[in-house]
C-alpha cells in the first residue's frame, strides 16, 4: 500500500511493506534509488511494521522544477514520514543513511536507532568546498530528478557539522547506542561520527535486534 504525504509543495510516497503490530521500521533509500517493492535480507526478520519512503524527486514522489535539493530538506522528508507512522527505527542506505543520522540528531526521541548502510550518495561532496561551480542540468522532469543526483551528490558534509548531529542523537536518545554503522564505506564525516561515544560498528542484523528489543 502507498500513501502520499505532503511536505511543503512535494507529495512524498510512503510505502507500507508490511503491516504488523510491534516496533516500526522506516527504510530510506540511496541517492537515485527508490523504495524496494518487497522485503528482503535482514530487514525481513524485523518483528513489526515496515515502511519505506521515496525522497523528493525519487521513486513515486513528485519531482519539483528547478532543483534546490539539500540534505536538510530531505531530513524534512523523512521527518514527515515519521510524523505519519510514529516513532520508528531507521535503516538508511547511502544518502538515506546520512539523512537517517541527521534525523536521529534532530528527533532523538522518535528515532529508535538508526543503521547506516553502504550505498550511493553516502559520501556527498566531502568536507570542504572545491572550486565554485554553477550546477545546471538538462531539465528532465522525471524520477530520479537529475538535479537531485547533482546537488545531493556534491553537498558538503563537514566533519564538525555532521558530528554535532551524532552528539545530539547519543545525548538525547533513550537508547544506549542509537547509531549503528553497518557498512564498509568510511567517508570523512562518518569517521568523525564514529569518534562520538555511543556510536557503534556492528552488523545490521545485530543492530536491528537491539533496536527491536527496545520496542
Amino acid at each position: 500500500m502507498t500513501v502520499f504525504l505532503q511536505h511543503n509543495r512535494v507529495k512524498l510516497a510512503l510505502h507500507t511493506l508490511r503491516e504488523a503490530p510491534g516496533p516500526r521500521l522506516l527504510l530510506l533509500h540511496a541517492l537515485g534509488d527508490r523504495s524496494p517493492e518487497r522485503l528482503s535480507g535482514e530487514v525481513e526478520r524485523w518483528p513489526g511494521a515496515v515502511y519505506a519512503l521515496d525522497f523528493t524527486g525519487h521513486g513515486s514522489s513528485s519531482v519539483p522544477a528547478g532543483g534546490g535539493y539539500t540534505a536538510e530538506v530531505l531530513m524534512g522528508d523523512a521527518d514527515v514520514a515519521l510524523a505519519a507512522i510514529g516513532p520508528a527505527t531507521v535503516v538508511g542506505r547511502g544518502l538515506g543513511g546520512y539523512i537517517g543520522l541527521l534525523l536521529a540528531g534532530a528527533r532523538p526521541g522518535e528515532v529508535r536507532g538508526v543503521a547506516i548502510l553502504d550505498g550511493a550518495g553516502l559520501a556527498g561532496g566531502g568536507d570542504t568546498p572545491g572550486p565554485a561551480v554553477v550546477r545546471g542540468v538538462p531539465g528532465a522532469l522525471s524520477a530520479p530528478d537529475p538535479f537531485a543526483l547533482v546537488e545531493l551528490g556534491s553537498d558538503l558534509r563537514p566533519r564538525q557539522y555532521v558530528r554535532r548531529f551524532a552528539e545530539l542523537a547519543t545525548e538525547h536518545s533513550p537508547l544506549a547506542n542509537p547509531i549503528a554503522v553497518c557498512g564498509r564505506q568510511r567517508p570523512a564525516w562518518l569517521e568523525a561520527v564514529l569518534e562520538v561515544p555511543g556510536v557503534v560498528e556492528e552488523p545490521l542484523e545485530a543492530a536491528l535486534q537491539r533496536f527491536a528489543a527496545f520496542g
Binding site: 505532503q6 523528493t56 534546490g68 539539500t70 530538506v73 521527518d79 568546498p129 563537514p158
Partner: protein, 278 residues
C-alpha cells in the same frame, strides 16, 4: 519556474543588474535604481524564487539561487555585465564571480561581504550553535509548511512589523514597501514571501570559507559596509576584511548607517557606483 524581473530606464542602455538580499524583493530598489537608470543604464533586477512576485518553489537552496541568478543574466545578454548586490545577494554574486569570472565585469557589494559570523538572512548556512531544540523547531515548521500562511494585517501593521527589522527606514518608505511586497487578501495584507522560507537556520557552510576565498576574486570589487548593527545586517567588520581583500578591491564603510545603505543614502551610493562603473 517563473522569476519576476523588473527594469528601470532605457531598454537600449547597457545592462546593469541589481540583486536583493534574503527575505527582500526587487521593489526595494525603487528609489535607488532610477538614479542609476538616469545615468543611462538599463537597470535590471528580479525577485528570487519564493520572494516578491516570483513563483514559490518546492525547494530552496543557496546554489539554486545562484543558478536562478545566472539564468536571469543569460536571458538578457551573454556579455560580461556589472552587478550591484545587497546582503545575501552579495554573497551569491561573489560565488557566481568565482565560478564564472568573465561573466561579471564589475561587482559592487552593499553590506554583503563575508564575515566570520553566519549571516542571519541566509537560511541554509551554518549556525554554529544549533541545538536539538533548533532542529526540532525547524522540522516542526517543515511539517506544517503546506498549511502555513503569513499573518494577515493592515498595511500599517505590516509596515510596523517590517520596522522591527528595518528600524532606521522611514515609515513612509515601509508603507510603500508593503504595497509592493505584500498582497491584499480578503482578511488583510500578507507579505508575498513564501511562508516555507525561514529567517536564519543551519546548514553545512562555514562563513570562514567565504572569507578565505575572497582573496581569489578576479572581478574588480567595490564593497560598501554598514557600521550600525541591525537584525538583518551581516555584522561585517571592514577592518577584519582587509587582509582577505583581492587586489584592486576597495571597501568604503558608511558611518552611522545600517544594513540598507542604498536606502538610507541613495544619492551617495549611486554616485559611488556610477564612478566605479565609469
Amino acid at each position: 519556474m517563473r522569476l519576476h524581473v523588473c527594469e528601470w530606464g532605457d531598454a537600449d542602455g547597457p545592462p546593469l543588474f541589481l540583486v536583493h538580499g534574503g527575505s527582500d524583493f526587487a521593489g526595494t530598489f525603487d528609489v535607488f535604481a532610477p538614479l542609476l537608470a538616469d545615468a543611462g543604464w538599463r537597470v535590471i533586477s528580479w525577485d528570487h524564487r519564493g520572494h516578491g512576485d516570483s513563483d514559490h518553489a518546492a525547494l530552496y537552496s543557496w546554489d539554486a539561487d545562484v543558478r536562478d541568478a545566472l539564468s536571469v543574466l543569460d536571458s538578457t545578454t551573454p556579455d560580461a555585465v556589472p552587478v550591484v548586490a545587497h546582503s545575501k545577494g552579495g554573497g551569491m554574486m561573489l560565488q557566481l564571480a568565482e565560478a564564472l569570472p568573465y561573466r561579471l565585469s564589475k561587482l559592487v557589494v552593499i553590506d554583503g561581504l563575508p564575515s566570520r559570523d553566519p549571516a542571519p538572512d541566509v537560511s541554509d548556512h551554518e549556525h554554529r550553535k544549533f541545538t536539538q531544540k533548533t532542529l526540532a523547531e525547524w522540522l516542526d515548521h517543515r511539517r506544517a509548511a503546506h498549511i502555513n500562511l503569513r499573518k494577515p494585517g493592515t498595511l500599517e501593521e505590516l509596515a510596523r512589523r517590517r520596522k522591527r527589522m528595518n528600524p532606521r527606514l522611514s515609515d513612509d518608505w515601509l508603507r510603500y514597501l508593503v504595497t509592493i511586497g505584500a498582497r491584499r487578501d480578503p482578511d488583510g495584507w500578507r507579505w508575498k514571501l513564501d511562508p516555507a522560507i525561514r529567517f536564519g537556520g543551519f546548514g553545512p557552510w562555514s562563513p570562514e570559507w567565504s572569507l578565505q576565498r575572497l582573496k581569489e576574486l578576479k572581478v574588480p570589487l567595490l564593497g560598501l559596509t554598514a557600521t550600525v548593527e541591525e537584525e538583518m545586517g551581516w555584522g561585517t567588520n571592514h577592518r577584519a576584511l582587509l587582509p582577505y581583500l583581492p587586489p584592486r578591491a576597495e571597501i568604503i564603510p558608511f558611518e552611522n548607517t545600517g544594513h540598507f545603505i542604498h536606502i538610507e543614502h541613495p544619492q551617495r551610493v549611486a554616485e559611488l557606483v556610477l564612478e566605479f562603473l565609469r
